[in-house]
C-alpha cells in the first residue's frame, strides 16, 4: 500500500469528489477565461451579424423550456383547485402546499417503462407524441408575452397559430394508427373528428375580429387594444369571444368536451398503448394547450399585455435610477441593506413585546425585510421596465383564464359524443357565421 493510495483511502466520499472536482474546476475556469479573451470578440461579432438566427434559436429554446414548468404549474393548479372545490385539501406533502407533486409526477412518468406494443409501427409510434407536443409548443412562438417579448412577430401570426395547432390532429391520428390496437385507432379517429369539427368555428370566430383589426399579427392586435379595458376586443366582439372560448375548450380537450380521453369512461383513447415519457408528452401537450388557449384568448380579446387602465401621462412616474451610478457605494448597499433592514424591521417587535425573544424578532425582521425588498424590486421593475409590467398583466390574465378552465373541469359534466358534434355543427358554426356577417355589415354601415 503506497502513500498515495493510503491518503486516498482516508478521504471521505465528499472529500474524494472534491479532490477531483476542485482541480477540474480551476482548469476549466482558466480555459474559459483564455477562450473568452481570445475568441470572445469574434464570437460576439458573429452572433451580432446573425441576429435573426440567434433570436430564433434563443426564442425556440426558451419556449421549449418554459412549457415544462408551465405544464407542471397547471397540473398542480388542476389538482389543488379541484380538490379545494371538492372540499378536500389536495396535494400537501411534497414541497410547500404540495406544489412539487406535479414534478414528482413528471419524474414518475420518466422512470416508467417505455413500452412499445408488438406489431406497432415503432417509428410512427415514437414520433406521434413529438408531433402533438411540438404542435402546441410551436404556437407559443407567435404569442406576444410583453412589449418586445415574443418569438416572432409574423404578419400572419394568427393564421400560423391555427395552422400549427391543427397539426396536433396528425399526431393524434399517428398515435391511434401506429398503436396496433383497434380501440386506439377508434380513439384517434374520435379525437380527430372532434378537433377538426371545432377547428371550423374556432377559426371563423376570429374572422370578425380580423375584419375589425385589419391585421393578423398578434403583436399588432395587442397594440390595437391599448388604453382602458373598454378598448379590449371582447366588448366589440362578445359573440366571437364566446365562440372562441367554447371552441378552444374543445380544441384543448377540456371538460365538458374532453371526450378524446374521457378518464372515467374510456381507457385513454388514442393514448391507450402509450406509457412512460411518451405518454407524458401527450399529457404535457394537453396542459400546455390549456395555457396556449388561454394566452390566445387573452391576446385576442382581453388586451394581451395591456394593463386594464391607462393612467394619464402626468401620473406616470419617470424612474431614472441607474444602479451603476452608485459606483462603489452599490457594493455597500448590497452588503448592508439586508442587515440594516432586518434590524430595522426586527426592532419594533423586540421593543413592543417582552414575550418575543430576540431571535424571534430577528426572524420576523428578516422575513419582513425580504418581503419589503422583493416588493420594492418588483415595483421598481414594474414602473421602470415596460416588459415586466407587460408580462405581469399577461400572466395574470392568462392564469385567471386557466383557473376558469380548471374551474369548469371541477363543475361541468362531460357531454355525449353526438351532443358534442351537434353543438359544433348546429350551433357554433351558424353563430360564428352570424358573428362574421353582423361584423361585416356593421363595418360597411358605420364605415370603420
Amino acid at each position: 500500500m503506497t502513500v498515495v493510495s493510503r491518503g486516498w483511502n482516508r478521504l471521505t466520499l465528499p472529500g474524494k469528489f472534491l479532490f477531483i472536482l476542485v482541480p477540474l474546476l480551476i482548469v476549466a475556469t482558466a480555459a474559459l477565461i483564455i477562450l473568452i479573451t481570445a475568441f470572445g470578440q469574434l464570437a460576439l461579432d458573429t452572433l451580432a451579424a446573425n441576429l435573426p438566427i440567434v433570436r430564433f434559436v434563443v426564442a425556440a429554446t426558451v419556449i421549449l423550456l418554459i412549457t415544462v414548468p408551465t405544464a407542471f404549474l397547471i397540473i398542480y393548479m388542476e389538482m389543488k383547485i379541484i380538490a379545494l372545490m371538492n372540499l378536500r385539501i389536495g396535494p400537501d406533502r411534497v414541497g410547500p402546499f404540495g406544489s412539487l407533486l406535479s414534478v414528482v409526477h413528471g419524474l414518475k412518468v420518466l422512470m416508467k417503462e417505455d413500452f412499445t406494443p408488438t406489431g406497432a409501427d415503432s417509428v410512427v409510434f415514437t414520433w406521434a407524441p413529438v408531433v402533438v407536443y411540438l404542435a402546441s409548443v410551436m404556437t407559443l412562438l407567435v404569442i406576444p408575452f410583453a412589449p418586445g417579448l415574443y418569438g416572432a412577430d409574423l404578419n400572419i401570426g394568427l393564421l400560423y397559430f391555427f395552422a400549427v395547432s391543427g397539426l396536433a390532429v396528425v399526431g393524434l391520428l399517428m398515435a391511434g394508427w401506429s398503436s396496433y390496437n383497434k380501440y386506439s385507432l377508434l380513439g384517434g379517429l374520435r379525437a380527430a373528428a372532434q378537433i377538426v369539427s371545432y377547428e371550423i368555428p374556432l377559426t371563423l370566430s376570429v374572422v370578425g375580429l380580423l375584419l375589425l383589426a385589419g391585421t393578423m399579427s398578434l403583436n399588432q392586435l395587442v397594440e390595437n387594444q391599448q388604453g382602458w379595458f373598454t378598448d379590449w376586443y371582447i366588448f366589440q366582439q362578445p359573440l366571437g369571444a364566446l365562440i372562441l372560448f367554447i371552441a378552444a375548450t374543445a380544441e384543448a380537450n377540456r371538460t365538458p368536451f374532453d371526450l378524446t380521453e374521457a378518464d372515467s369512461e374510456i381507457v385513454a383513447g388514442f393514448a391507450t398503448e402509450y406509457s412512460g415519457m411518451r405518454f407524458g408528452f401527450f399529457f404535457f401537450a394537453e396542459y400546455v394547450n390549456v395555457f396556449i388557449v388561454s394566452a390566445l384568448f387573452v391576446t385576442l380579446f382581453l388586451g394581451g399585455w395591456n394593463a386594464p387602465f391607462a393612467l394619464p401621462e402626468a401620473w406616470q412616474v419617470q424612474l431614472s435610477l441607474d444602479p451603476a451610478s452608485f459606483n462603489i457605494g452599490l457594493l455597500f448597499i448590497i452588503a448592508l441593506a439586508p442587515v440594516v433592514l432586518t434590524l430595522l424591521f426586527a426592532a419594533p417587535f423586540w421593543l413592543v413585546s417582552s414575550r418575543i425573544k430576540w431571535w424571534q424578532a430577528l426572524l420576523i425582521g428578516f422575513v419582513l425585510a425580504n418581503v419589503f425588498i422583493v416588493t420594492l424590486a418588483v415595483a421598481w421593475a414594474y414602473i421602470g421596465l415596460n416588459w415586466v409590467a407587460g408580462i405581469l398583466w399577461f400572466m395574470l390574465k392568462t392564469y385567471v383564464l386557466v383557473f376558469t378552465f380548471v374551474w369548469m373541469r371541477g363543475t361541468l359534466p362531460r357531454v355525449r359524443i353526438d351532443q358534442l358534434m351537434g353543438f359544433a355543427w348546429k350551433w357554433l358554426l351558424p353563430a360564428s357565421l352570424l358573428n362574421l356577417f353582423v361584423t361585416a355589415a356593421a363595418i360597411v354601415v358605420i364605415g370603420r
Binding site: 372545490m85 372540499l87 385539501i89 374551474w407 363543475t411 361541468l412
Partner: protein
C-alpha cells in the same frame, strides 16, 4: 323566466366557487384521527387468547344481530369436532340446506319469526294528532305510545312512520337508542301473558313444563303459571 340558457352552468359554477372557499372536510389521517362513534363495537375479527384458542364462544349473538346477515359461523358439534368456519355459507355443511333454499329463491323458514300483530291504532292516532304529526317530536310520540301500549308494537311504529313521513328505519333507530323504550311487554308476567295470547303452542308447552317441574324451584316454572 322558466328557461334561461346557461343558467344551470352559471349555478353550478357558482356552487363550486363557493365550495372552493369553504372549510375543508379532510382529516389528515396519520396525524389526526377522527373521533370513534359511540356505537362503534370494535373490529369484526375473531380473537385468540394467550393459549392460541379462539375466544369465540359460538353464541351466535353477532350472527343474530347482524342486520344484513353477513356473519355466519359453525362451531363445535355434538361429537366435539372443532370446526369454526367463515366464508360463503354454502361452503359448509350445517348451513347447506338453508343456503340451498336461499339460492333456489324459496323462502327460508325462520324459527324466530313472529306474525304481524295487529293492534288498536286509535291510541297511536290520538297521540299523533296531539303532536300534530310532527316527526321532530319523535321522542315524545314514542314515549306516549309506550305509555299507551306498555311497549312499542311494530304496528304502532309503522303507523307513526306512515303518518309522520319519517322513515321506519329512523324511528327504529331512535327507539333502540333510548334505554327506556322497549319492543317487548315490560315484565315477565306481561311477557308470559303476551306469549299465551300470541303463541298458544309455546304457552301450552311452558305450562306443561311448569307442572312437570312443580316444586323443583326452577325459574321456568313460574313462566307458564
Amino acid at each position: 323566466m322558466s328557461f334561461v340558457p346557461g343558467l344551470g352552468i352559471a349555478k353550478g359554477m357558482a356552487l363550486t366557487l363557493r365550495r372552493f372557499f369553504e372549510p375543508k372536510a379532510t382529516i389528515m389521517y396519520p396525524e389526526e384521527r377522527a373521533d370513534v362513534a359511540g356505537k362503534f363495537r370494535g373490529r369484526l375479527q375473531l380473537l385468540y387468547d394467550e393459549w392460541g384458542t379462539l375466544k369465540c364462544e359460538t353464541c351466535f349473538q353477532c350472527a343474530q344481530a347482524c342486520p344484513i346477515e353477513c356473519i355466519d359461523m359453525g362451531g363445535i358439534d355434538t361429537r366435539g369436532r372443532y370446526h369454526i368456519h367463515w366464508g360463503p355459507p354454502e361452503t359448509y355443511g350445517e348451513r347447506r340446506e338453508e343456503s340451498a333454499l336461499r339460492r333456489s329463491g324459496r323462502t327460508v323458514p325462520d324459527p324466530a319469526f313472529r306474525p304481524y300483530q295487529p293492534i288498536d291504532l286509535g291510541e297511536v292516532d290520538r297521540i299523533l294528532d296531539e303532536h300534530d304529526f310532527d316527526p321532530a317530536h319523535m321522542l315524545p310520540i314514542l314515549e306516549a305510545t309506550q305509555e299507551a301500549y306498555g311497549y312499542l308494537p311494530v304496528a304502532a311504529l309503522k303507523r307513526i312512520s306512515h303518518r309522520t313521513g319519517a322513515w321506519y328505519a329512523i324511528i327504529y333507530g331512535t327507539a333502540t337508542y333510548y334505554g327506556h323504550l322497549r319492543f317487548e311487554p315490560p315484565t315477565a308476567t306481561d311477557q308470559a301473558a303476551a306469549v299465551e295470547r300470541h303463541r298458544p303452542a309455546e304457552a301450552a308447552y311452558l305450562a306443561a313444563l311448569g307442572s312437570a317441574l312443580e316444586g323443583s324451584g326452577r325459574a321456568g316454572a313460574s313462566a307458564g303459571a
